[in-house]
């Protein structure tokens, strides 16, 4: 072979040899890639050679597969067992040989699990370890519980007496702890419990990629830094929060979080068992409940305030200036200034009334950095002034996540009878007739090897209703159109499936080719009942969109005539601009700038 190369049967350009060699050696440069692509696109013989040669390369890979793994090391002398299969199935490994020991058993060491003494020793050691762990857990629980009880009592006592911190020592410290707002307690990472989950995301972009969520479950202490978009969090307590980017938010507990910057809207359903809660409640009871009650109220902390829910829907915004704004859509909230600890206990006791307010429906409050609270009510008619500014800001909250909705697109032949022209699908071209004029595709009857027509879902389309034979080796182009608005075009996802007699060569969305999965040309029993799926997530435009299918009739070598037909089912989902506007709380007129992309 080496001295007398065989007569070459296939003439192959040297350039192509070089290119395929580069491919096999994983050394193809971008310029070579472009050249190879051009050759393969336009030259059927180059394609054929490429297929044959690369199959040889692939077969060599298979042939020598495992040769590198099973190569014996220098010190080994025994050959590899020849009986092992050459492949390894993912779900089944070769079973090891069963070896029966015929020599006498070796003596069992005293510490071994197989010896009597060793077994008892191991069992007792494990028991002792478990006992120590149990004692440790019990002591932690006992101490923690006692601390909570003491702190509760101290807080209550301090409030009742009107004093700020109570006496000194432990009781004073506990009382002080009870007075001061619960500090962020960051549990260790491994102890963080799940306090909620992400229940919706729309167009989210992340200011800090390291904080991008990788799981929908939210643990205590999780931070989010949203650059834009909307994200909904549902707490295990049932509260829902919609973050609007740009926004930085930390989930501190099952009962709230810390909004460092940006805006959110929160909705908390009032607990059913507490339907008798009076509208007015004492601040003291509120504080105690908030701190240690099982039915703790939902609260959002900001750098300057704490906004506590009283069974309501509200919005909170923190500006770059550090100013916090709270707006009540429904129900009531309490707005309290953050106590920076600079005032004395007496001052705290005396001034607590000015530092806490309760807002009702349609009321807003601004808490400035220097600790002032300004409240206002949204004027009904709108108009100039600070009230209007705050009211306008109140309207800028997204109170409900936009939802995906199916958009209008038509399956082939849906709702029609055999022989009917389909108003939504046209035959627009055929490769054997350059002057072909577009015409409606017609719902056609089909033979028994095709999936039967289903007028409720979809039906086969062809040139006429009697499944007419048409020339083979010809491409027929079917087209449908659908409308999208701007928001839908940005968010649409198309999923579809088709059946074709005989083959879909191409699918184009607005002229751009989609991936068409590999599928056969239709041989064998029941072939024309085998759906092929496809999808598109980009390439949509505002206004009319066209979707085209090139259907090839016959197989690649046939020169006869035969029936040709296409059947398609489509689903497009997206978020419409109308849906977006409906979910924003401002009047549509003043929302134009919000909706614009």
């Amino acid at each position: 072979m080496v001295d007398n190369p065989p007569k070459k049967i296939r003439e192959v350009a040297p350039e192509l040899w070089t290119l395929v060699s580069h491919v096999c050696n994983d050394e193809l440069q971008p310029a070579d890639e472009a050249r190879l692509e051009s050759l393969l696109r336009h030259d059927p013989q180059a394609r054929e050679f490429f297929g044959l040669f690369m199959s040889l390369h692939a077969e060599l890979m298979w042939h020598f597969r495992g040769a590198g793994r099973s190569a014996p090391a220098a010190e080994e002398t025994a050959p590899s067992p020849p009986s092992l299969p050459e492949y390894e199935l993912p779900w089944e490994k070769p079973r090891p040989k069963v070896v029966i020991e015929t020599s006498p058993p070796r003596p069992i060491p005293w510490y071994s699990i197989h010896s009597t003494f060793g077994l008892h020793l191991i069992a007792h050691t494990i028991s002792a370890i478990l006992l120590l762990i149990g004692i440790g857990i019990a002591s932690v629980v006992y101490v923690t519980h006692s601390h909570e009880i003491a702190a509760t009592r101290a807080a209550t006592c301090a409030e009742d007496s009107g004093s700020g911190g109570g006496g000194g020592g432990l009781s004073g410290a506990l009382a002080a702890a009870g007075k001061v707002e619960p500090k962020k307690i960051k549990p260790k990472k491994e102890e963080a419990s799940v306090v909620g989950y992400i229940s919706g995301m729309v167009d989210c972009r992340w200011a800090d990629p390291s904080l991008k969520p990788i799981t929908p479950l939210i643990r205590q202490g999780t931070k989010f830094a949203l650059a834009s978009g909307l994200m909904e969090i549902t707490y295990t307590t049932g509260a829902k929060v919609i973050l609007q980017g740009p926004c930085t938010y930390e989930v501190e507990s099952p009962h709230g979080g810390y909004l460092a910057l940006g805006k959110l809207a929160a909705k908390v359903e009032p607990p059913k068992s507490d339907s008798s809660i009076p509208a007015e409640r004492s601040r003291q009871a509120l504080q105690t409940r908030k701190l240690f009650s099982e039915k703790s109220l939902f609260a959002v902390r900001t750098p300057t305030a704490i906004i506590t829910d009283l069974g309501t829907e509200f919005g909170v915004e923190v500006l770059e200036s550090g100013e916090s704004q709270a707006h009540v859509f429904q129900g009531q909230v309490e707005v309290r200034l953050v106590d920076d600890g600079s005032s004395s206990s007496a001052e705290q006791g005396a001034g607590v009334r000015e530092r806490v307010i309760v807002l009702g429906e349609n009321q807003s409050a601004v808490v400035t950095k220097d600790g002032k609270i300004q409240t206002t009510e949204a004027p009904k008619g709108g108009g100039p002034g600070e009230g209007s500014r705050i009211a306008a800001a109140a309207g800028a909250f997204v109170r409900q996540m936009p939802h995906w909705a199916p958009l209008k697109v038509f399956n082939t032949g849906i709702g029609l009878k055999e022989g009917d022209p389909d108003p939504h699908w046209q035959l627009v071209a055929r490769s054997d007739q350059p002057d072909f004029k577009p015409q409606p595709a017609v719902v056609t009857k089909v033979t028994s090897n095709c999936l039967p027509n289903n007028p409720v879902r979809s039906q086969w389309l062809s040139l006429a209703g009697d499944f007419p034979p048409v020339p083979d080796q010809t491409v027929y182009t079917f087209r449908t159109t659908f409308e999208l608005d701007a928001a839908e075009a940005k968010t649409a996802t198309l999923r579809g499936r088709f059946l074709a007699d005989n083959h879909v060569d191409a699918i184009r969305l607005n002229g751009r080719k989609l991936n068409v999965p590999f599928h056969d040309y239709g041989y064998g029993v029941n072939f024309f009942a085998y759906w092929v799926e496809f999808r598109a997530t980009e390439g949509f435009v505002e206004g009319p969109n066209t979707l085209e299918f090139d259907v090839y009739n016959g197989d690649l070598h046939s020169t006869m005539i035969g029936p040709m037909a296409l059947r398609v089912e489509l689903e497009i989902v997206g978020i419409s601009s109308i849906a977006k506007r409906a979910f924003l709380s401002m009047p549509a007129k003043s929302r134009e700038s919000e909706v614009a992309p």
Binding site: M1, V2, P6, K7, K8, I9, R10, W17, T18, S21, V23, C24, N25, D26, E27, L28, Q29, P30, E33, L36, E37, L40, R47, E48, F50, G51, L52, F53, M54, S55, L56, H57, A58, E59, L60, M61, W62, H63, F64, R65, A67, G68, R69, Y87, L89, P90, W91, K513, N515, P517, F518, H519, D520, G524, V525, N526, F527, Y530, V532, L556
Partner: protein, 172 residues
């Protein structure tokens, strides 16, 4: 057909097409490492979808369809430089493979005989290059050879094999 029988049939057919599937995948991903990884992913996906397989139809086209989609996603994920085929050509090559399937099978049956016609040195070099997971360049460095020398040797050996197969087929 009950579930157990259907699964048994599926397994039997899958074993039979295993080699062909690897070949299909390796044409789409000529780099050894990519081919193996892609092959594993494709196999897992095929096994996941075993209930979707219609036993009245041949398995290889169905499995190749799944493998092609897996390849597409794999390359999107990997984003490696110098990928031999872009997305559109994936479809072109895959379709060619399908059309030439019978011819490819017939040709590759000649491969063992053609391998025997290589010299010992050529066979060993081929084994080294095709059994290792590293690049040819790294292999050349390990053998203290200029990579271009190794490329040329490999190209010659592959040509010899290709022509040997061509000749054997033509003479039949």
């Amino acid at each position: 057909m009950d579930n157990e029988a259907a699964r048994k049939l599926f397994d039997e057919r899958f074993v039979r097409i295993h080699r062909h599937l690897f070949r299909f995948v390796a044409v789409l991903a000529p780099n050894r490492e990519d081919a193996e990884e892609l092959f594993q992913e494709a196999c897992l996906k095929i096994l996941e979808k075993w209930r979707d397989y219609d036993a009245a139809r041949p398995m290889l086209p169905w499995a190749c369809g799944i493998a092609q989609n897996v390849a597409r996603r794999y390359f999107e994920r990997q984003r490696r430089r110098g990928l031999p085929l872009n997305e559109v050509l994936l479809d072109v090559v895959a379709e060619t493979q399908h059309r030439l399937a019978a011819e490819i099978d017939a040709r590759l049956q000649k491969l063992p005989d053609c391998l025997q016609q290589l010299t010992e040195e050529q066979r060993l070099l081929l084994e080294e290059c095709y059994s290792s997971y590293g690049s040819i360049k790294k292999l050349a460095q390990a053998k203290q050879l200029d990579p271009n020398v190794l490329y040329k040797r490999l190209e010659r050996i592959r040509r010899l094999l290709f022509d040997c197969i061509e000749s054997a087929i033509t003479q039949e």
